[in-house]
């Protein structure tokens, strides 16, 4: 991080980049206000905050492109406790989010191919293959990803990330902070929480050493507070989906969730979600549905099929089906109340043990049941995701219980979140078509 590097960063990001992105956002804002801008007869126009989202994401990756000139860089798993890294001034990159971006841009297949050519099996997670393929080939739709100085892996979403991050640690030869979160079969026990807390404290020490500075309590408290604020806002955003018609679909949430995952703890994230909530509440007040002619409401379980988000969004809307919620996007909002900025490490030890993926299959069924009720869903689509075993194992029994006991139609849809080669288009569309017919009764 030389003076020249710092100067280069300020020129490319702070001056030119920010100015360009602001202008681009203004241009998009103007376009969206033009009469005739939106012609889709089934879907309402995108949210007015969408250009702001584009600016945030593009700036995040632009900053990443030059981050090695200016910041210490940490690569972090999506459910990782990021607050202490943000408070220490790290630039934080989430390979899973980057993977999702590659999926949406339909370059994940190519990147998976690079990983497979290096010996990585097609049977491992497609996010991991996308990321490893990107690392090995240097290819990314973001232009360039910064090299990590530190890795942080939290197993609260799966054990897969542990093996994946061991691969990255070996490749980059950088320290790996592991936050190993015991799986919560029923309730977290005292020794589970104590174990996670000890690891967090050790993680802070490693991060401080790598950053060359100490973590200030004030900075950590403020970052944690901003995280809490953003998570609470996100929770309220997704809860607007309870309204009939729903002002937002889970497809929208899949896109708008990027900041809550990778920019948690930043002030602009709080501002962004506050504006998004205002807009959604305005839609609720005027009964504006994200799907114009909402007839049926569905709940989605598991990760999105990133390379089919747009196609499915249009397909569902044409049938008057609104995907009003998902267990996946809900996961980033449901733990808000447990975050305590006064006790950031202690509360993080418990909060980060409780994401839906670290809880039992029965608990997930209870979450689905609750959401079906609260969101008045007419059915559930369970994405059986070949690349995500912790989310998918249990779905066969969950589907049976939903159908037999709750009399809610539920469809198990076989796919993969990031590898289109594991997605059978015709079969999926046929199954979805038949499911829609069942819904219509």
């Amino acid at each position: 991080m030389s003076a020249l590097g710092s100067l280069r960063y300020h020129l490319n990001v702070s001056l030119l980049g920010n100015a360009y992105l602001r202008l681009d956002r203004m241009k998009l804002d103007r376009q969206m206000r033009q009469p005739g801008f939106w012609k889709d007869e089934h879907l309402s126009p995108p949210l007015r905050v969408s250009p702001w989202l584009k600016e945030l994401i593009t700036r995040h990756y632009l900053k990443g492109r030059h981050a090695n000139d200016r910041f210490k860089v940490a690569w972090v798993t999506s459910g990782g406790p990021v607050e202490f890294l943000t408070a220490l001034g790290y630039y934080v990159l989430y390979p899973e989010n980057h993977g999702a971006m590659c999926g949406i841009r339909r370059v994940s297949e190519d990147l998976c191919g690079h990983a497979e050519a290096a010996g990585y099996s097609r049977d491992i997670c497609s996010y991991a293959r996308t990321d490893i393929g990107s690392v090995l080939s240097g290819k990314t739709p973001a232009g360039r990803l910064p090299k990590p100085d530190l890795l942080l892996c939290c197993t609260n979403i799966c054990q897969t990330v542990l093996y994946w991050y061991q691969v990255l640690a070996h490749h980059f030869r950088v320290p790996l902070i592991l936050i190993d979160t015991p799986f919560v079969y029923s309730e977290a026990r005292d020794h589970d929480v104590a174990y996670v807390k000890k690891q967090l404290e050790h993680g802070v020490e490693v991060a401080e050493k790598t950053a060359g500075r100490s973590l200030g309590h004030k900075e950590l408290k403020e970052t944690t507070l901003r995280s809490k604020d953003a998570v609470e806002l996100w929770k309220r955003i997704i809860e607007t989906g309870r309204h009939r018609p729903s002002p937002i679909t889970a497809f929208d949430e899949f896109i708008h969730m990027a900041p809550i995952v990778e920019m948690r703890g930043e002030p602009f994230t709080v501002d962004y979600y506050a504006a998004m909530l205002d807009e959604l509440e305005e839609r609720v007040a005027h009964d504006v549905g994200a799907v114009r002619n909402e007839k049926k409401r569905l709940l989605w379980d598991n990760l999105p099929i990133w390379y089919r988000v747009r196609q499915f969004s249009t397909l569902f809307a044409k049938q008057g089906v609104s995907l009003v919620a998902s267990t996946y996007t809900n996961a980033w909002g449901e733990l808000a109340e447990h975050i305590d900025p006064e006790r950031p490490i202690e509360s993080a030890a418990k909060v980060y043990m409780y994401p839906i993926l670290n809880r039992g299959t029965g608990d997930k069924l209870r979450t689905i049941r609750r959401m079906v009720k609260e969101y008045q869903a007419d059915g559930v689509i369970l994405h059986s995701d070949r690349s995500c075993k912790p989310y998918s194992v249990g779905q066969m029994d969950q589907r049976r219980r939903l159908t037999d006991e709750l009399h809610v139609p539920a469809l198990l849809l076989e796919a993969d979140h990031n590898d289109p080669r594991c997605f059978s288009e015709e079969q999926a569309l046929n199954r979805l078509g038949a499911f829609m017919e069942v819904l219509e009764g």
Partner: protein
């Protein structure tokens, strides 16, 4: 090769051992892979019987609960349970070894709810540097398991009793290490050798020690002349893979299998039984499922090859086993850079070894002949 003496060794079958233990008033636990405190179970009069599949089971019952992309050890194991294969056991222990085992434990507890009580156990992860933190947690896990086992059996073994069972298990583990050290002097085929080794999966420690000593007494002066290799992966199932190696002129001299070599638990040091059992497991050879670093695994495999004069490594993996699959490319590349050849094969625990795999084993071993 020397003449095989394996036929002379009498190893009782699982059912026979199970019934004999129950007739003496003992309990039997079906234990899914991978790591668990054998001594703790034994102190409660519970004999652990490990469930690694088994191979060749009809997976239809399990397929109603688990997707086809779940590994066969789990699907076969669940199918075995659902088709009555574990009816005689008194409880089921599902240690947390990977995402699939986690799912199995959870599905059993939440949905299937078998007649037997299901217990879980969380395995702490991390490389050798994390062992200190992990030992305290793992000891607490064992204390928690102690309470559950006490509630099931009505027994409360004392600390000295626990330490005595630990000593017994440590002795059995020590015998397993000795068997490996003497492998080349034992007049056994690979399959016979592994039948002895893997009887540790269901024999009481004291009986295993007797069997191991009996096996070691058969030691001969002339050693095997096959191509020495290291076998890495999860479990040598179907066992025909060992016949295929043997027939092709190979001999397994080093073991990095999850079911055996990575469970060569060293004796613990702590005088408190709970941390001591945690030390046993967490200080064992590097293991993907414990989250060891890639470097640790490379160094371990390299040393294993050096110590045993192995000419190559056969990675024998179970399909869909993510922990193993992630490590393989970097390990193989590094071993190759150090002049150690390797080959990777994948099994789905079907009843028979595919001909194609036998051909690949032959081709691999021919390189060295």
């Amino acid at each position: 090769m020397t003449e095989s003496a394996g036929a002379a060794l009498r190893i009782p079958g699982r059912r026979e051992v199970l019934r004999s233990h129950k007739e003496k008033g003992g309990f039997v636990a079906a234990v899914f892979p991978i790591h668990y405190p054998r001594a703790l179970l034994r102190a409660f009069g519970i004999l652990p019987m490990e469930v690694w599949g088994p191979a060749g089971v009809n997976t239809t019952p399990g397929d109603a609960h688990l997707q086809a992309y779940t590994c066969n050890i789990i699907r076969n194991g669940l199918s075995f349970l659902l088709s009555g294969g574990l009816d005689e056991v008194d409880l089921i222990l599902v240690p947390h070894g990977c995402d699939s085992l986690q799912g199995l434990g959870s599905v059993l507890l939440d949905f299937i709810k078998p007649r037997q009580q299901v217990l879980t156990l969380y395995l702490p992860r991390g490389d050798a540097n994390d062992a200190g933190r992990a030992i305290g947690f793992f000891a607490d896990e064992f204390r928690s398991l102690y309470k559950s086992l006490s509630a099931i059996t009505g027994r409360k073994p004392s600390e000295p009793e626990l330490l005595s069972f630990i000593a017994q298990e440590e002795a059995a583990d020590q015998q397993r290490s000795v068997l490996f050290q003497q492998r080349l002097r034992l007049p056994l085929t690979d399959r016979e050798f592994y039948r002895v080794l893997r009887s540790r999966e269901f024999l009481p420690a004291e009986e295993f020690v007797r069997l191991a000593q009996e096996t070691l007494q058969q030691k001969v002066e002339t050693s095997h002349s096959g191509v020495p290799i290291v076998l890495s992966g999860i479990v040598p199932e179907p066992m025909e893979v060992l016949d295929a190696i043997w027939r092709a002129g190979g001999i397994v001299v080093g073991d990095d299998l999850l079911c055996s070599g990575r469970r060569l638990y060293p004796p613990g040091k702590d005088e408190d039984p709970f941390p001591r059992m945690a030390e046993n497991i967490l200080l064992a050879p590097p293991d993907s499922t414990r989250g060891s670093s890639v470097q640790e695994r490379i160094e371990h495999l390299q040393k294993l090859c050096e110590d045993t004069s192995a000419r190559g490594v056969l990675f024998y993996n179970v399909k869909f086993c993510e922990p193993e699959l992630f490590y393989l490319p970097q390990i193989r590349k590094s071993l190759s850079g150090r002049g150690i050849r390797s080959v990777e094969m994948e099994t789905d625990l079907s009843e028979h070894l595919p001909d194609q795999m036998m051909t690949r084993i032959e081709a691999f071993l021919e390189i060295f002949q």
